[in-house]
């Protein structure tokens, strides 16, 4: 780099630094004074503001709490900076917090200045939630904005340290919902968080680190948090499990569950404790779900039995085909096409498992027939490959035999031409 260019870069850097320092030096009495206070409750907000998502966006204490932070303080008299004419509101009461935050967060025009992607319906949703309704009724031990997001030192949702980050949500909700004393007046259970942690969803989230795995707010909503109604469970689960939901809505179970007052997906799979689904759940034998409601003299009992048998038969066909194809592959045969067909057969099995939610033997049969045909096709190709292998090995044995004959013939020829002449020949 030539030196005039280097010089320009240095000057530009210095200018930028000066501008930044000037911007930061703007007077903020709130921070300056509160930081030096001995009372932890009063000094903590000023110290925590360093990491705060609002502060980093340039929003000052006065933007939320009012007051005049630039007024020169004379003789340690702070009152002029907090006069009503300055709009000073101080710390809001619990009941006022939603509207306190909503002043900005429900104002679409204001929020667009910072992040046009942020929703602005949190406040409206909150009032529809169980929390919002209770707050309006006057409860003070109820979750509002600060309960979940914190107040000063608030972090963005995408920050892994934030209490509302996917892996932290259950702990945040559990702060109240796992507290027996706190929940006693509301008659709510407190084991949801522990159950969720052990569920297939919890394992995906905590053990596999899959941030898309569901946690409390995925099913219950966040700002509008409420338990899903009996008839809306399948809509909640169906957000992710759409195919299963479609089959379920067409199934006789839907109307039956509604009549019986049973929740939809939850009746078979549970809710917070939802376990990994295996084929073992399907059927009428002991420990299998269908057998808990259906008994031998019912048609549904026979259907449940047929569903399981059909799935098992398809699995067995695929396993047989896989063993044959893998055997041929291990022997070095080219069976990539059969392997591709096996993948399709597995897809058919997956589809068949989904179709189980329709509880229709005919619908399932349609899927398993497709899978069976594919498995049979792969099996045929595997058998053909093994047959071809045998042919090659036999061919090898024959060709080695002939090569050996040639070797013997050549050896005898060498012996013949190198044999010393017999004395009688001379």
């Amino acid at each position: 780099m030539a030196w005039p260019l280097r010089f320009s870069v240095v000057v530009a850097g210095l200018l930028a630094f000066t501008v930044t320092v000037e911007g930061q030096n703007q007077r903020n009495n709130c921070i300056d004074c509160h930081r030096s206070l001995d009372d932890e409750e009063l000094s903590q907000p000023a110290r925590a503001a360093v990491d705060d998502v609002h502060a980093s966006a340039g929003i000052t204490c006065a933007d939320c709490h009012g007051g005049n932070p630039t007024l020169e303080i004379v003789d340690e008299d702070y009152d002029p900076a907090k006069e009503p004419s300055t709009g000073f509101v101080g710390a809001p009461s619990v009941g006022d917090i939603p509207t306190f935050c909503g002043k900005c967060h429900a104002d679409a025009a204001y929020m667009q200045r910072y992040d046009p992607n942020l929703p602005v319906d949190q406040l409206a949703q909150y009032w529809t939630s169980g929390h919002g309704k209770k707050l309006r009724e006057g409860a003070t031990d109820i979750a509002e904005c600060v309960s979940c997001h914190g107040s000063h030192g608030m972090l963005a949702v995408s920050d892994p340290r934030a209490p509302v980050y996917p892996t932290k949500v259950a702990g945040t909700c559990g702060g109240c919902h796992a507290d027996e004393e706190h929940m006693a007046p509301y008659g709510l259970p407190t084991d949801q968080m522990a159950l969720h942690r052990e569920s297939v969803h919890g394992r995906a989230l905590y053990q596999d680190g899959d941030l898309s795995a569901p946690t409390c707010n995925t099913c219950h909503g966040n700002h509008g948090a409420s338990p899903p109604g009996l008839s809306s469970v399948s809509l909640v689960c169906g957000n992710c499990h759409a195919i299963q939901r479609d089959f379920f809505t067409k199934s006789p179970h839907r109307a039956a569950f509604a009549d019986l007052g049973e929740p939809e997906c939850e009746t078979c799979h549970g809710n917070h404790e939802v376990a990994p689904v295996t084929d073992e759940l399907l059927g009428v034998a002991e420990g299998q779900i269908c057998g808990e409601c259906h008994f031998e003299d019912e048609e549904a009992y026979t259907i449940a039995k047929t569903l399981r048998q059909d799935i098992e038969e398809l699995k067995a066909r695929i396993a047989e085909a896989r063993t044959t194809v893998e055997g041929a592959a291990v022997a070095g045969m080219e069976v990539s096409e059969a392997e591709l067909i096996l993948i399709d057969a597995n897809q058919a099995l997956v589809k068949a498992r989904n179709t189980v939610h329709a509880v229709s033997a005919d619908a399932l049969r349609e899927q398993t027939d497709t899978g069976r045909k594919l498995a049979d096709q792969a099996l045929e190709m595997g058998i053909a490959a093994l047959g071809e292998l045998q042919f090659r090995q036999k061919g090898l044995a024959v060709s080695v035999f002939f090569i050996l004959l040639v070797v013997i013939g050549l050896y005898l020829k060498i012996q013949q031409i190198e044999r010393p002449p017999r004395p009688t020949d001379e």
């Binding site: 080219e334 090898l396 080695v400 031409i417 190198e418």
Partner: protein, 359 residues
């Protein structure tokens, strides 16, 4: 039939005298001693080369050298073409056996010190033939356009980039661009079926010509025995023995091709992450493994660069060895040659083994 052949011979002989050639063949003999068996490696290499040409031409009937069609065409050869699997398998196996025989041939020539005056040029053409064989292997490995070959070629051409002075040019020249693409495949195909065969044929003819002109070398330790025993007449005695060797080689090849068909793998996907266990062909493995062991920098110089300089210097020593080994002209075995040879073979053997164990 015999009459017709005799008439044809005389017809040609009248125009181009064949008698001196026939006389030469009749007179030609191969020294007979304890190590005569090692002479077979050269013949076996030639046999496998012949098979490579024959099977290569057959593969050319169906192979299509584009990124879109190469993999599919090889799969077609292996699954649809009658005995296509056998042709491809023989081509792949005999390529490896050819390189193996060439290595063994070179090692026996080295230890028997057959490279000494007046056979320096035979050694050089042989050394170049070995390099060309490795070039055949490197270019041919990519042609099925499968996953392992694709990524191994990417690694191989990346290493080429580290070559002192010409690295960048060499990498671009081999790849036909910044990365391994369809352009590389077409280029490698061109090298494999046109450029390298032309060079190999020329070198091979020269190599054979030198051998015919100078006869077989006899190791120092065997000169006495060789002078006592009459040599084996080349035609038909030695030639028939050679045929036995070739027949055995063919039987081994048939067994390998039938029992362990050369696998096709998955089609290369340039956007997929590199699969585990990428390694080059076994004859490049010792270099690959050595480069893996080298630290990122050695005395402030890039480790791979140091490794390539090491192999470059080693290669030059190997090539010019006939000029370096001038000791013990009196015919005694050379301790230096044995030590250097054993050390080099041990290094190559250990590194190759580690390459297999490591993967």
């Amino acid at each position: 039939m015999r009459v017709a052949a005799t008439r044809l011979y005389h017809w040609v002989d009248e125009r181009i005298p064949l008698s001196p050639l026939v006389e030469f063949a009749r007179e030609k003999s191969v020294p007979s001693h304890r190590y005569s068996v090692f002479y077979f490696f050269g013949g076996a290499t030639l046999f496998f080369f012949g098979l490579q040409v024959a099977t290569g031409i057959l593969l050319l009937l169906y192979y299509r050298p584009t990124a879109e069609a190469a993999f599919e065409s090889v799969r077609f050869i292996m699954t649809e073409v009658s005995f296509g699997w056998l042709i491809r398998s023989i081509h792949s196996w005999s390529a490896n056996l050819m390189v193996l025989c060439a290595f063994l041939h070179m090692a026996t020539v080295f230890f028997m010190r057959a490279y000494r005056k007046p056979r320096e040029m035979t050694w050089w053409t042989g050394a170049l033939l070995l390099l060309v064989s490795m070039g055949f292997g490197f270019s041919g490995y990519l042609l099925p356009w499968n996953e392992l070959a694709f990524f191994a070629t990417r690694v191989g051409t990346d290493v080429a980039r580290k070559t002192p002075l010409i690295g960048e040019f060499l990498s671009q020249f081999l790849r036909g661009g910044d990365d391994v693409t369809g352009a590389t495949l077409t280029r490698f195909f061109g090298f494999h079926v046109a450029v390298l065969p032309m060079i190999a044929t020329t070198l091979l003819l020269l190599h054979l010509l030198f051998i015919q002109r100078q006869g077989m070398s006899v190791p120092d330790s065997q000169t006495e025995e060789a002078s006592r025993r009459p040599g084996t007449k080349f035609f038909p005695n030695y030639f028939l023995r050679e045929l036995i060797g070739w027949a055995v080689a063919l039987a081994i090849l048939a067994a390998l091709a039938s029992l362990f068909p050369w696998e096709l793998g998955r089609k290369a996907d340039p956007f997929a992450p590199a699969p585990a266990g990428i390694k080059p062909e076994w004859y490049f493995l010792f270099m690959f493994q050595t480069l893996k062991y080298l630290p990122a920098t050695i005395a402030g110089i890039e480790g791979e660069f140091v490794g390539l300089v090491f192999f470059g210097v080693g290669g030059l020593l190997w090539f010019f060895w006939p000029l370096i080994d001038r000791g013990s002209p009196g015919g005694k075995p050379s301790r230096l040659v044995t030590t250097v040879g054993v050390a080099a073979l041990a290094f190559i053997g250990v590194m190759t083994l580690l390459g297999y164990i490591g993967s």
